[in-house]
Symmetry: C2
DNA sequence: GTTGTCCATTAGTTTTTCTAATACCTAAGC
DNA sequence: GCTTAGGTATTAGAAAAACTAATGGACAAC
């Protein structure tokens, strides 16, 4: 049924409004009037049967339902934007290959990618998912964002920061990390056993996932307290979907290192964009 | 700019036409006329600047560009469909938790999910990504599709078949597996070293990925010959995006095992649906 | 050569989108 | 307490888009 999916413009209006917390600002960003944004969001709320925003005299606040909707909508919009651009021809530097972990792709890049693609509509992008640090160069990525240690990548790699391990949980979860299931991603030397309270309590993870992405998703769904990289959690925490479950931040030897091919201006553009985005959480 | 993304109906028309290889059938499926589908696809082609289909007297063939577009569009549509349904209330059995690997989610479930959600619009779904086989039950999934061995999961688990390892490559790649980079996913006991020609040639993988999903994506992008599970490759091969690079199929000890909670009718519905889908490649 | 099936196109109707204008609400400033 | 400013909500009407019905064209099947 054609009517089973709301129009894309409704989702775009919602997503822009969610990021800006303002229909007026969203309107400016996506090139329609404040009135249109307001109507689209209202229509989406009617269709979904939930309130997505709390309207205020000056601006908006997201409801819990609104927050839940953001990742999927942002992801889908990013996917369609990328899909729409997949065939564009342009400058000689029009295809940028970015090899990155699923985690970085989903939690850092995807939610922000549109600021890059809007600014550089003629640059095509190719994303490769989690790469083992071994033989990394064989994928010939212009930008590579592997997960590992400084020793593995050297001086030309720049760490995405902040890079500790933080304990996060869904904002909807009650209880502390001694009462909740613990989620841990494999592949890091630090873990729950490094937690200060590990001496007193048996902090044995109940859920293991193979990426911070999955850990975040687990946490997002209220499955427990996840240890995830601060740099990924950063934007997730900014959106209030997830909260810090413990004040402690464990130093982490491994991290996401960005390496861009310095001879490739487009790669440097992307790299600069990425570090610029690092300062701005996706839902601020 | 509001015009930067084509309307969702254009993507839907394209995706349905791509799966059916017919505008007429697509029209029936998504509830619009053949004329509307034809016009939407034509508009999408104009917007993207490429031909997506080759029109024939009877039906359609996908172009290479058309094939490239499918996964992202299908994924985005699936995401938006799921997003749109996220708040629906309905029967008491309205939330089904499915824990599965990213690979299964992306290559088996996502491309076909709409047949499930259309048939069961009142069932909500929750997907959890790659789970380590240890402590699997802690996520309380109604349906779980872990990757591992029979020994780990026992009699109540049903293997998604066929389950050999096949060597696949992008249809656009020339050369055989001795001339092309080899892609291997970690986590399986079998690999390139089990290939018949491994005795004569040094079949050392150049690219490692951590999931068959990534391997398929690598292969999809013409990065080499990937060893992937037949069950994932099945639908990918059906769409002609990827081709078999070697006739040999290595037996694989590990596989995707589906375990549905027999006391949960909705879980059994999903399980039945999944095995039904297994017989029908996504782009048939 | 005829029939059937499917795609392409056009014209016209219907629906949706969007803007402009205005009302309302509330915080901030004086 | 009043005024101003900034933002949301709503309505009306114009413009644009979506959609259908009808028809023509292409080609495979018989």
């Amino acid at each position: 049924m054609a009517k089973s999916l709301p129009p894309l413009t409704w989702f775009r209006a919602f997503e822009a409004a969610a990021r800006n917390l303002s229909f007026t600002a969203a309107a400016d960003e996506i090139g329609m009037t404040q009135s249109a944004v307001s109507q689209h969001v209202k229509a989406l709320e009617s269709r979904l049967g939930v309130a997505l925003f709390i309207r205020k005299a000056r601006g908006l606040a997201l409801t819990d339902d609104g927050r839940k909707l953001i990742p999927q909508v942002a992801s889908a919009l990013g996917t369609l934007t990328a899909a729409s651009r997949i065939f564009e021809t342009g400058t000689t530097q029009n295809l940028l290959t970015v090899a990155t972990s699923v985690s970085v792709a989903e939690w850092i890049i995807a939610p922000r990618l549109r600021t890059f693609t809007d600014r550089h509509p003629d640059i095509r992008l190719r994303f490769l998912s989690t790469i083992w640090p071994d033989d990394f160069k064989s994928v010939n990525a212009d930008v590579e964002i592997p997960f590992g240690t400084f020793k593995q990548f050297g001086k030309n790699a720049t760490l995405l920061e902040p890079n500790g391990l933080v304990a996060i949980k869904s904002a909807t979860l009650d209880g502390d990390l001694h009462a909740l299931p613990l989620i841990e991603a494999v592949g890091t030397s630090a873990g729950w056993e490094n937690w200060p309270s590990a001496k007193k309590h048996d902090l044995i993870p109940q859920i293991y996932v193979d990426s911070f992405d999955a850990a975040l998703n687990m946490a997002f769904h209220g499955n427990g307290v996840a240890l995830v990289s601060e740099v990924l959690a950063h934007s997730a925490l900014a959106s209030d979907q997830l909260v810090v479950a413990s004040d402690f931040i464990a130093p982490c030897e491994e991290g996401y290192y960005v390496q861009a091919n310095a001879q490739n201006p487009t790669a440097m553009l992307f790299r600069d964009w990425l570090f610029e985005q690092e300062k701005m959480p996706a839902n601020n």
